[in-house]
């Protein structure tokens, strides 16, 4: 009882802090960190649906992110439509791709799925880089100045911040909703033991495919949001392996398969990444990836449940010691 009340109060406090953050820290540097944090939290939460809850570890989610990012600028470049109009197209393409990959690989063990995702992402990245209609290696550019509000091209970071925050809220609500429903229990059963789940009548393949489709759709939205803000996309910033890596590490650090794990992961990693990039200058990005690799290995070896799991184990012990003293 007490825990629930405390949990709800904490959640309210956290939401209030997110709402007020860009007003309190109004400098462009801090607002930029805020927007980057939200985007990382959205992408990782989207990955979390299939990678965390269903336990099917995609290491090529950049393919959905990239499709979501390219679609708005494709409709803008080809037909002059507002970029926003490309978002549904990005979602549809991603869902189609998710089905195409999921149907053959999800009936096999998780390793096949992981290999397929990384290969398909790389295949798309290279192909897009040779395809002139989507800008080949140079990429696509959005509207330089807004023709109207519908272009969603703003000078200030503030509108982006609140749009991103709204999307994160929707995504977390959807996740929270299925967590307590049959679908959520199916996912957890599959993750714990596929064979056992199947023998109890869980429609394993359908459930995994549904999780992948849902995850792909939200990842595409994350890509669209990214491109609306930056107004520019090229094969590496859309489909690069680093995009996938970031989703995996953010979710796994906080806690894959938990509602707020990806948010916590982003809360820790984004400031850390900004710090290494600031301290080490241009050479910092390479160091960031070394750090990412190291963190992933340490999580896998010592704490696959992420920080949430660690807190669940270590927290009570700490509290007891505190009370005893």
């Amino acid at each position: 009882m007490l825990w629930q009340v405390r949990g709800r109060a904490g959640l309210g406090l956290f939401a209030a802090a997110l709402l007020l953050y860009p007003i309190i820290f109004s400098g462009p540097f801090y607002r930029d960190i805020g927007v980057t944090f939200l985007l990382a939290a959205i992408s990782a939460s989207a990955w979390n649906i299939v990678g965390g809850y269903a336990g099917q570890v995609s290491v090529g989610h950049s393919m959905f992110f990239g499709l979501g990012a390219y679609a708005p600028l494709m409709v803008y470049t080809w037909w002059g439509w507002p970029p926003m109009a490309g978002i549904p197209a990005g979602i549809l393409l991603s869902v189609g791709l998710a089905v195409a990959i999921g149907v053959p690989t999800l009936r096999l063990t998780g390793h096949y799925f992981s290999m397929a995702t990384i290969a398909v992402a790389e295949l798309i990245r290279i192909s897009v880089g040779t395809w002139a209609l989507v800008g080949a290696a140079i990429g696509l550019q959005g509207p330089a100045t807004a023709r109207g509000w519908w272009d969603l091209t703003f000078r200030s970071e503030l509108p982006y911040y609140y749009i991103f925050l709204a999307v994160l809220a929707v995504l977390l609500s959807v996740t929270a909703a299925f967590e307590r429903r049959r679908f959520g229990f199916y996912l957890r059963a599959i993750k714990a033991s596929e064979r056992a789940a199947r023998s109890l009548g869980v429609p394993v393949r359908e459930t995994k495919l549904k999780a992948l489709v849902l995850s792909a759709a939200f990842t595409a939205v994350a890509g669209s949001l990214y491109v609306l803000k930056t107004g520019f996309i090229d094969p590496d910033s859309g489909f690069g392996i680093i995009i996938s890596v970031q989703m995996v590490i953010v979710a796994a650090l906080g806690g894959a398969g938990t509602l707020f794990g990806p948010v916590v992961g982003a809360l820790i990693l984004i400031p850390l990444q900004t710090a290494t990039n600031t301290w080490f200058g241009g050479g910092g990005s390479g160091l960031t990836y070394i750090l990412y690799g190291g963190i992933i290995v340490v999580i896998a070896r010592f704490e696959p449940g992420g920080l949430f799991e660690m807190w669940r184990r270590v927290g009570p012990r700490l509290r007891n010691r505190f009370h005893a003293a």
Binding site: I118, G129, Y292, I295, V297, A300
Partner: protein, 309 residues
């Protein structure tokens, strides 16, 4: 890798055009060049398939092991000197040790863990190795200084660098040796016994942990020596690890998960397909063709073209 192969193809084309019957000669040259590169693919892919066959585990850092083998060769040549036998052996030994160390410190602890931990462990290791290499060696392409294998051989109109020929031949010999080790020796039987049934092997007096450490050593050692062989004939940068890792997936998917002999055939086929598609479609398309083939394979025959279910 992409650009250099194209460049070679162009050079080979111009050299061979002076000959009579130039067209068929060019095609033959492309085919032989592809098979020689494919032999090296076969060698490092046999390491990946060994681990898969032993413990149903995919090593996402396998391409990085190949890349490290190349840099070990470079460092040995620059610091100590010595011929291909010296740096080849050095790369094999160094990577064998790394493979055993990775197994003992990391893999052993995640093998019973959830899928997430299994995949993240080697995926994180790949990033760690790749970007550390970028940091130390920079992103520039390097190649070995001229070794004793310099020069070009004229085989009835086909011009082949001696280094490529030797590297390809040694790679085929080593892949066959690995196959024989697994199928014809006592140690091989012990390895296969552990792969078949860990508990039963233990009851027979085999220590599974030791055998699996050995498998990781052999796997990484094969990757390392393949890297050293490749370094004699082709330039590289730290980013080749990612490409080779994916190529190893394709080869293993084609040759059958767990079959060393299958990966020998499949490696040669993939090398051939790459060379031919680079020749006819252009260098950029060779990876598109090969990864496309991989996706098609996963659709049609996920157990591998030549593998059993």
């Amino acid at each position: 890798m992409a650009n250099c192969n194209g460049r070679w193809a162009a050079r080979r084309r111009s050299e061979a055009q002076d000959e009579l019957g130039a067209d068929s000669m060019v095609v033959l040259q492309v085919v032989v060049g592809g098979l020689l590169l494919g032999a090296i693919y076969a060698l490092f892919s046999s390491g990946l398939t060994l681990i898969w066959g032993m413990m149903n585990f995919i090593n996402f850092a396998h391409g990085e092991f190949v890349m490290l083998g190349m840099y070990v060769a470079l460092l040995v040549v620059v610091w100590l000197g010595g011929g291909p036998a010296v740096f080849g052996l050095a790369a094999a030994v160094a990577l064998f040790a790394l493979g055993v160390a990775v197994y003992l410190s990391l893999i052993r602890h995640v093998i019973q863990a959830p899928m997430l931990a299994q995949i993240l462990s080697t995926f994180g290791l790949a990033l760690l190795l790749r970007y550390t290499a970028f940091w130390i060696f920079s992103a520039n392409f390097v190649s070995l200084p001229q070794t004793s294998l310099g020069g070009t051989l004229n085989l009835g109109g086909i011009f082949l660098p001696v280094a490529q020929l030797v590297a390809g031949a040694v790679a085929i010999a080593l892949t066959l040796a690995l196959h024989l080790l697994l199928t014809r020796t006592r140690v091989g039987s012990m390895l296969l016994a552990v792969a078949e049934d860990r508990t039963a092997a233990m009851l027979m007096g085999i220590r599974p942990d030791r055998m699996q450490a050995l498998a990781w050593g052999l796997s990484a050692g094969a990757a390392g020596i393949a890297g050293a062989l490749m370094a004699t004939a082709y330039p590289w940068s730290p980013s080749v690890g990612e490409t080779f890792g994916l190529i190893a997936f394709v080869v293993v998917a084609l040759g059958g998960f767990g079959s060393v002999l299958g990966s020998l055939y499949a490696g040669l086929i993939i090398g051939l397909i790459q060379a031919v598609s680079a020749f006819w479609l252009g260098a950029i398309y060779k990876d598109i063709v090969v990864y496309g083939l991989f996706v098609a394979l996963l659709w049609l025959r996920p157990q591998g073209l030549m593998g059993k279910a």
